[in-house]
């Protein structure tokens, strides 16, 4: 008699906690985001480009950048919609093991200061048919008490009211 072989597996969940040091550049950026609800960049003293997120050295010209606030520039959080994409497939968040409901929208934004930025495009009921390249957008922060010093302290970017 040919019995199908039973194959075994061992199931487990890897659960590890971390304390990631954000350092004086990204750490300062995240603190300002959490407490003031603003984005900051550092301007490279060598080649003049904005570094977002701020970092200690420019990877293009290798110039050391100063710590906050010298050469740091506060951004307006406003810009225009460059493009967006609709995410259709379920993905597990490796921090929580939960799956984000889909579909949802990701946007690319051209900030007023010229930089590109990527975040969710909200709110949840935003209609794709209302979206056009070039529409003005603004950053929406989560309520102060919900912020943790993470990029997700930004709730989403939305089309500026009255411009849909």
């Amino acid at each position: 008699m040919d019995i199908e072989k039973e194959l075994l597996c061992q199931r487990r969940t890897l659960k590890i906690r971390f304390r990631w040091s954000a350092g004086p550049y990204l750490g300062r950026f995240l603190l300002e985001l959490k407490e003031e609800g603003r984005l900051w960049v550092v301007r490279c003293p060598g080649c003049g480009r904005f570094l977002l997120p701020p970092r200690i050295v420019c990877a293009q010209c290798y110039t050391r950048t100063p710590e906050f606030p010298e050469h740091w520039v506060r951004l307006s959080g406003k810009g225009t919609l460059v493009d967006w994409e609709r995410v259709h497939y379920p993905q597990m968040d490796p921090e929580t093991g939960t799956v984000r409901p889909e579909p949802y929208l990701h946007g690319t934004f051209r900030l007023e200061e010229g930089l590109l930025f990527v975040h969710y495009l909200g709110p949840e009921d935003v209609q794709e048919s209302d979206l056009r390249v070039g529409l003005p957008v603004e950053m929406v922060m989560k309520p102060l008490e919900e912020r943790e010093g993470k990029m997700t302290d930004i709730h989403y970017f939305r089309i500026v009211e009255g411009r849909r």
Partner: protein
Amino acid sequence: MKTREPLQVLGRLYVPYANWVGETTSQFLCELRDKRRLRGTGCSECGKVFMPPRSVCPTCLASLETWVDLPTTGLLMTYTSVHYSFGREYQPMDPPYLLGIIRLDGADTGLCHFLGETSFEELRVGMKVEAVFKENREGNILDIAYFRPIKAAS
């Protein structure tokens, strides 16, 4: 300018995995679960008997297809005691507990397992031990509850 403490961001990893043990180990664990039987595999080139069984010889990479019946008794090769706790998720038993490496009679390799019905003071390298099986077995190496010293008949 106000100085600030650098930020530490609290993060975590939470990812599920299912690691498949393969045909050879599955067969070993199923027989352990269903028949309380311990079988190793032997290499015809090197002449070694492996417990737990392997499908590939570590020395010559030959495929090991010969199964060898082994008793549930063996020799204690070495032992230690564990006193500190690093979380029940990563530890199969609350400390303190005893761990030993047991070479089953007829095997050439050691099997790491718990030692029970004994104390650290009573243990000796080279003493005879036997496997004690769990009542409810699930198909993993912990279906052996522990090994215990074989008491001389009195």
